[in-house]
Amino acid sequence: MSEFLDLEVQDGIRMPWNVIPGTKQDATNCVVPVSAIYTPLKPNPAFPVLPYGPLRCRMCRSILNPFCVVDYVAKIWVCPFCFQRNHFPQHYSSISESNLPAELFPQYTTVEFMSTAETGPVAPPVFLFVVDTCMIEEEIGYLKSALAQAIELLPDQSLVGFITFGTYVQVHELGFGLLPKSYVFKGTKEVTKDQILEQMCFFAGKTKPTTGVIAGSRDGLSTESISRFLLPASDCEFVLNSIIEELQKDPWPVSADQRASRCTGTALSVAASLLGVCVPGSGARIMAFIGGPSTEGPGSIVSKSLSEPIRSHKDLDKGSAPLYNKAVKFYEEISKQLVHQGHVLDLFACALDQVGVAEMKVAVERTGGIVVLAESFGHSVFKESLQRIFQSSDNDLGLSFNGIFEINCSKDVKIQGVIGPCTSLEKKSPLSSDTVVGQGGTTAWKMCGLDRKTSICLVFDIAKKDGSDAISQSTSNQFYFQFLTYYQHHEGQMRLRATTLSRRWVAGSGGVQDLIDGFDQEAAAAVMARLVSFKMEAEADFDPVRWLDRALISLCSKFGDYQKETPSSFSLSPRLSIFPQFMFNLRRSQFVQVFNNSPDETAYFRMMLNRENVANAVVMIQPSLISYSFQSGPEPALLDVTAIAADRILLLDSYFTIVVFHGITIAQWRKAGYQDQQGHEAFTQLLQAPQEEADLIIKERFPVPRLVVCDQYGSQARFLLAKLNPSVTYNSDNPAPPGGDVIFTDDVSFQVFMDHLQRLAVQ
């Protein structure tokens, strides 16, 4: 297990199969696809940053890497992907075995190039705030203070724009000194980029060019006209603060039986077009703060009448959410526009009800935006997350822009697609598989926004047929992968990160043990989770539970040790042993059991799953549980209802929520105030320990998770109970021990699940 973590540290990558089934048939039999979860910008001080540009293969454009065969005498290197022989250029002439460029060092499988000559001047990042004003005064107050704080944290050189919306969209002209001035667009109507150009006087006094793309200061617009709306943060701080200070509830009246009219879609479209006009191709993010569902104009998700509830999963399944598809389509268009411009959409949705994250998901995810879902703008989940974005600290996000991710691999491997925050650039090549998963049909993806933690899941296709081994066998039994990520670093300059991997492959029946040895069950769980989520969204009538069960059974049949038809003989290698438990919890998780959640929440969970690394994904699938008691130090506990005891404190980390659960006795002691009394320091420490642990987790996680502190039998205890294995339920034969708990559910327990699995696997 630890070797996988080491590999992750080195290259930011984890693969379910670190030894790859070498043929198409083998790969199919392995059930879990050959895939990788890659964190392109994973920070590691060991990565060298090279102040020059990369050397590329003439044929396949791959980059010189440690796996290249180098002929130091002839000054020639052989590309491992296409076997093309390339001459070293002049400035590599001094190369020798003892004088290697960094990118050839064996340990530098991941390097970063930063060549200022190639990338031109540093472009400041752009932040365009899009703020909803249809909220109760209290919420507006919270939002104001959060925004004011955020603005203070903005890097001075970054450009800022400000848009507010409600019934109408107001684009504030920050550069107009005399009066507070804003352009007002109707919420019910989509605004095109051309209209923005024309109506916001970008051509005042000039004639509009009749042809050609007009955008940005490079193509036809004067800097003055742009700087009316996007100003350096340091220049417009005063104006911005006064606007924020005067933010008011949308003035249009709303009758009691109506929802506020909120034109989120139009506002985002205006924002996208404005950025497209002003700063196309340079890093910019739209940060949308939304306090309720969109009800006006394109992209609205529900009618204004309160008598109509916002769509639920049930409605979506039955197709009785009339606005859903239209809205999704609308946001898809926006995402296309944003991707084209290289801009990001971040979503801060804070409301008790849904706001339409499910519909907007497409725009956020394809642009690599951040999403934060909270109940209120006053909630710490929102406030602290927002601060985290701008705050520089050890755990800061390192927001980067405008990334392009490219892939090269050995020719027997094809790429089906990527599940994660990116968009296909539709760059077809022999490497792209005909089978498409996620964003596919390409070997290049746009990642408008990416940060240190952004992780994408690549799904491969092994193209090699049985018997055609001859050629490749002759060279090696290694597959090579090269991942190239061009991006605008958060400090402004363009960089290129290159990660080159090699993995051994095995073919035929003899390789089972090799495969098992190379199986990373955590990565596999994360991949399966992404896959099942993707399929649930993409395929109609998809039965996720059945699909997962079948996959698990097949896997167990293939890799388990057993005698046919003898369930009791079944055992799994340690490499696979926890996988069934992951699957059991995945079946019960929010990703598969969506009906406990709103579509917005599901969309949110999935977006987070799709951008997090393996470790975090595993926590989402199977929360970690730590038990604190006087008897022992903190120790992991089984994620089972039996873990509950009256004199224990449990700390549950389910990624989105962290629960500190006090057993009934502990709770009583706490209420009695023993922790404040002399002589009970041990109790004080016991109480504090889980709290501190929780703080630690919260500190490094983004978005900031919700912290729930609860007591046994309290109402909030449901956050814990929902995640526990229901080994003891209300109709169990064996009653709960004193101080224990039961779960009111008819769900099967893990034990029952395993029994079935064994029975089926051995058939």
Partner: protein, 1097 residues
């Protein structure tokens, strides 16, 4: 007036006796007749009798007079009551007495007194009475131009007001009478006649009878001599200057009353004059009526009262052959002495006019004269006047006459300051009493019967139950005993407090929304600054109170709203960039009570010009901005004041430079040039209808230097009850003052909002159509988002049945509106006029100015849909048809060689000519000018209709040398170039423009005094008339301010000079001159006459 003995009113038909009388005189003066080419017959029997008055005063008067007084001839009843008794005394006494009693001649005194009165009652524009809530009485709405003297610019000296109080009765006798009363002697005794006082020489003048034919042919040459005789008379009458006896007409009011005898005799003569055209002095030719008399025996009973209503009017037709050989003679119009043809005379005295006398409708004084109305049952003629003061019983009769039957309704017209305010009647929850069938409002003409338990509607004849609370016993005269205590039963005009059934919502507040063009041109020409400054200054004139709201927006290619509701902070600027599909950025806070946002607004207005100083946006989205402004005020309604400077080129309702297209594309401009005078499409019309529906009235101020397509733009104000103001070419130097004053008057004049108006009339007639600035959704009512004191609505009628001859025909106009203080009111105006079967009565009681206003509006209305040539022909034909009808049926002279004009309509040809030559109808000229003219005409009032095409020309270089006793404004000159000399300075005004013609050889000192420049060359064409410290300058300013007051308009002053385009503009107003586009006055008369002749044969 109760004493109107109807029986008496039937004097034996005068005709019988008459014939013999005249014939004789005729021969006596054949020569004279030959000369006069023209004759004017005064509606009522002219003069034949008059001369006699001297002879048989006693005999005649008694018979005729008593009976007439009641008749609405305009002769005040008083004479009947009092004077009469006194009159018998002797012809002689009257005279002396008159002098003693009143300073008729001592004109000066009267005048002198007047100013004093005036001082006490400053009248802005003849200010509205307090009751109406007009502009604050104290401040004259039109201050002088910023630079000019602040001194009571409009405190014009009202005419002798004091008099009415002292001697109402006498006063009743209109000045003209007085004038005549004296003249008799001189008049009656033409020099030539000398010995024969009795002889009706004056009147009986020349009969063209014999001569006509003969003379006609040969006599054309002979005329001079005859004329000569006339001329002797003429001067006196005509020239104010001359004979002292004549004095200035204005001065003698009291006179008439005093002299019973003379008056009675004169009456016939005067009556008509007074009734129909008091404004005009009597021209000498009037006397020639006698001639016709010769042919037409009937007329004149000496004593015959002019005003006899219903009494057959003597066909009398003074007449004058203009040329026997029409065909040949026409070419020598010189036969017509240009000095003798009919022209208007200035009339400056004040008349007191009682609307009904002796139970009958009185004939209203000329609209252009100054009069004080006493509402005794009919409404003031200012509010409503009819084109004929007797209603033809049948459609045929009306058709035959060729005259229009229409009402001019000006519901908020400014009253004379001495008039009683309109009374307010509150019926509480019950609401005003109305006829249950036709919904007519209770009025003095509803007849109560059955001890007051029922009342019969005067319009539909339905018998209604009187509401219990309203029952009152009837007196012996059949009137309710409380009739005189209840305004609704004794006044022609009352206002009812609207009860709930008239409220569909709370009365709207007074909302004013300003829209200012800030596109590049507007800013650079100074139009934006001018608009801002005008608004800023005018804010203080908005009606006071919490219900007065304002809002403001600017626009170029986008619309900029301003939210002013930010007590401490700067206004918020909100831009609506979508000019195709506009909307308001906020729902509230765009329009606020003035009191809350005044400072912010003033600051904003100050900064707007600088804010847009460097604006490079050339486009201007007028239509979209208007729409946006409308949306902002949709919930309340109100006034939208738009300041537009360029052709609206963008957004909804954008327009194109059609003028240029028209010029470029010859085929369009040739074939259908009038198409360019129609709105380009329906967009703006549709918008305007929507505005009107939500009670938004749009006024457009066009401060432009180029074509802006007024034809299209004007649709909006015309449909919403607003108007177009036009400043072309806009000058940042001279126009801001006018802009400010126009705006100020616009918001401070008496006005009402969200109004609905309906005119009802007696059975037998029905409303045919309404014309004016309003929106009509249903055939019977018109919607007026705003109605103000300057707007007039023309209502035309047609017969759907016969009217009874001895009955009266009633008209009732009801206007439901909200005043500026948010009170809902119903203003009800009633007019009841006698019906007649006599064509001659129609002519006698024709109201020239009203008819002309009617023609003017119809012409304006027709221009966009027809060719100018056709319109001009139509106008001319209308004139010819009327005169021909008169000639044929009322003045059947044997000879066709005379052009005979009915007295009441004697100026019709002149005005017709002026109309043909007007900006609207002449060929040359810019499209916009014509469109503007058309839009102006559609709502113009009767009193301004004539000046509009027939301006006033007054010399102003010699103001200081005029006698002290002269009235403030010198008598106007005839509109021909002989009257303008190159060493003079003249002001020509038409109520809209003031052209100051500066001759080429004007004394530099005059220039220095008047304009502050030392030479002609230094005189800028854009003039700001300042008041300098000298007598001349002071007087010029006084004159101009007085004109402004009279016209309720701050003239747009321009300097005109010979040899420059401005000089040509000036010349184009000299309608009597021959111009490329039209004949001279004399030629036109010849033409008219020839047409009549050809029709007769």
């Amino acid at each position: 007036m109760s004493s109107s003995p109807p029986q008496q009113s039937r004097p034996p038909p005068p005709f019988a006796a008459a014939p013999p009388q005249n014939p004789t005189p005729a021969p006596a003066f054949p020569p004279s007749s030959a000369f006069s080419n023209l004759q004017i017959s005064r509606g009522p029997a002219p003069p034949p009798g008059a001369p006699r008055s001297g002879l048989t005063p006693q005999a005649a008067p008694p018979a005729g007079f008593p009976s007439r007084p009641s008749s609405g001839m305009g002769i005040a009843a008083p004479p009947a009551v009092r004077p009469f008794p006194g009159s018998p005394p002797a012809p002689v006494p009257p005279f002396p007495r008159a002098q003693a009693a009143s300073p008729p001649f001592g004109v000066p005194p009267a005048v002198a007194a007047a100013p004093a009165v005036a001082m006490q009652q400053p009248r802005p524009f003849g200010g509205p009475p307090p009751g109406i809530g007009g502009p604050p009485g104290a401040a004259p709405p039109f201050g002088g131009p910023p630079g000019s003297a602040a001194a009571a610019p409009f405190g014009g000296a009202p005419a002798p007001m004091s008099q009415p109080q002292q001697q109402p009765p006498q006063f009743g006798a209109p000045p003209p009478v007085a004038m005549m009363s004296q003249p008799p002697p001189q008049f009656g005794v033409p020099p030539g006649v000398g010995a024969q006082p009795a002889a009706p020489p004056q009147f009986g003048r020349p009969a063209l009878s014999g001569p006509p034919a003969a003379a006609g042919i040969g006599s054309s040459q002979a005329m001079p001599p005859s004329f000569g005789s006339q001329q002797q008379q003429a001067p006196p009458t005509f020239g104010g200057p001359a004979p002292p006896q004549f004095g200035r007409p204005g001065a003698q009011p009291p006179f008439g009353a005093a002299q019973a005898a003379p008056m009675s005799q004169q009456a016939p003569f005067m009556g008509p004059l007074r009734g129909n055209a008091p404004a005009f002095g009597n021209a000498p030719w009037q006397t020639q009526g006698a001639g016709s008399g010769a042919m037409q025996p009937p007329m004149r009973m000496p004593g015959m009262p002019p005003n006899t209503l219903g009494q057959g009017m003597p066909p009398t037709t003074p007449t004058m052959p203009y040329s026997p050989h029409a065909g040949t003679q026409v070419s020598t119009p010189s036969k017509i002495d240009p000095n003798q043809i009919p022209r208007p005379m200035a009339e400056t005295s004040v008349i007191i006019f009682e609307t009904r006398q002796g139970g009958q409708a009185a004939i209203p004084p000329a609209a252009s004269s100054e009069f004080i109305v006493k509402d005794t049952g009919n409404c003031s003629p200012r509010l409503m006047r009819c084109s004929v003061n007797q209603i033809p019983c049948t459609a045929d009769l009306l058709t035959t006459s060729g005259m229009p039957l229409s009402l001019m309704v000006q519901p908020f017209s400014l009253p004379h300051p001495s008039e009683e305010p309109i009374q307010l009647v509150d019926f509480g929850d019950m609401g005003p009493i109305r006829c249950s069938r036709c919904k007519a409002y209770i009025n003095p003409f509803m007849r109560f019967v059955d001890q007051g338990r029922h009342f019969i509607c005067n319009l539909c004849g339905h018998s209604n139950d009187t509401p219990r609370e309203y029952i009152c016993n009837l007196g012996p005269d059949g009137r309710r005993r409380d009739a005189d205590d209840r305004p609704e039963l004794c006044r022609g005009t009352v206002e009812f407090v609207a009860s709930k059934e008239f409220l569909v919502r709370d009365p709207m507040p007074a909302v004013y929304f300003f829209l200012i063009d800030v596109s590049m041109n507007a800013v650079q020409t100074g139009a934006t600054a001018a608009a801002c400054s005008a608004i800023s200054q005018a804010i203080s004139d908005l009606p006071e109170g919490p219900r007065t709201m304002v809002g403001i927006a600017t626009y170029d290619s986008a619309i900029h709203f301003y939210s002013l509701k930010r007590a401490q902070q700067q206004p918020l600027m909100l831009i609506v960039p979508d000019v195709q599909d506009v909307y308001t950025p906020l729902q509230k806070d765009l329009i606020l009570p003035v009191s809350e946002c005044r400072e912010n607004l003033e600051q904003l207005l100050e900064s707007i010009p600088t804010m847009f100083e460097n604006n490079r946006v050339a486009d201007s989205a007028f239509g979209a901005a208007t729409k946006a402004g409308f949306l902002a005020m949709k919930s309340t309604g109100g006034k939208l004041l738009v300041f537009q400077s360029v052709l609206p080129s963008l957004g909804v309702g954008s327009l194109s430079a059609r003028e240029a297209e028209g010029r470029a594309n010859i085929s369009t401009s040739d074939k259908e040039p009038h198409k360019l005078l129609q709105p380009v499409d329906k967009t703006l019309k549709t918008m305007a209808l929507e505005f009107a529906e939500y009670q938004v009235c749009v006024d457009v101020f066009l401060t432009t230097q180029s074509y802006v397509d007024i034809a299209s733009i004007s649709v909006v104000p015309n449909t919403t009850g607003g108007r177009v103001y036009y400043y072309y070419p806009f000058s940042a130097r001279s126009d801001p003052a006018k802009l400010f004053n126009d705006l100020r008057w616009n918001i401070s004049r008496p006005q009402g909002f969200e109004a609905v108006m309906r005119v009802r009339c007696s059975q037998g007639l029905q409303v045919q159509d309404y014309f004016g600035n309003f929106c009509k959704r249903v055939p019977t009512d018109i919607d007026l988002p705003s109605i103000d004191s300057d707007k007039t609505i023309m209502v035309t009628f047609k017969h759907d049945d016969k009217l009874q001859e001895n009955s009266e025909c009633g008209f009732q106009c009801a206007l439901l509106y909200t005043n500026v203080y948010g009170q809902r009111r119903i203003r009800v105006m009633n007019l009841s006029l006698p019906c007649t079967n006599m064509l001659s009565n129609l002519f006698r009681y024709a109201d020239l100015e009203t008819q002309f206003a009617c023609f003017l509006k119809q012409a304006g209305n027709g221009i966009p849909t027809s060719t100018l040539l056709h319109i001009r022909e139509e106008v001319t034909n209308t004139c010819i048809n009327i005169l021909q009808s008169y000639r044929k049926y009322c003045a059947s002279v044997t000879s066709s060689g005379q052009l005979i004009l009915p007295e009441a309509l004697k100026l019709l040809p002149l005005y017709t000519l002026a109309l043909i030559k007007s900006v609207g109808l002449r060929n040359e000229g810019r499209l916009d000018d014509r469109s503007y003219w058309i839009s102006l005409v559609s709502s113009i009032s009767v009193s301004l209709a004539v000046p509009m095409v027939f301006p006033r020309l007054i010399p102003i270089h010699d103001l200081t040398s005029r006698g002290d006793d002269d009235s403030l404004i010198p008598s106007p000159l005839m509109l021909n170039s002989e009257n303008t000399h190159e060493d003079g300075v003249y002001l020509l005004e038409n109520g809209e423009d003031g052209l100051i013609y500066v001759g080429n050889v004007v004394d530099p000192t005059i220039l220095q005094q008047m304009f502050g420049v030392s030479s002609l060359a230094a005189l800028p064409s854009q003039v700001v008339l300042e008041q300098f410290d000298n007598e001349l300058s002071r007087k010029v300013n006084e004159v101009i301010n007085e004109i402004r007051r009279q016209r309720c308009s701050y003239l747009r002053l321009r300097i005109c000079r010979r040899g420059e385009p401005s000089g040509d503009i000036f010349r184009s107003y000299l309608v009597e001159d021959k111009a490329p586009g039209g004949p001279s006055y004399v030629e036109f008369l010849v033409h008219v006459h020839r047409q009549i002749q050809s029709k007769l044969t």
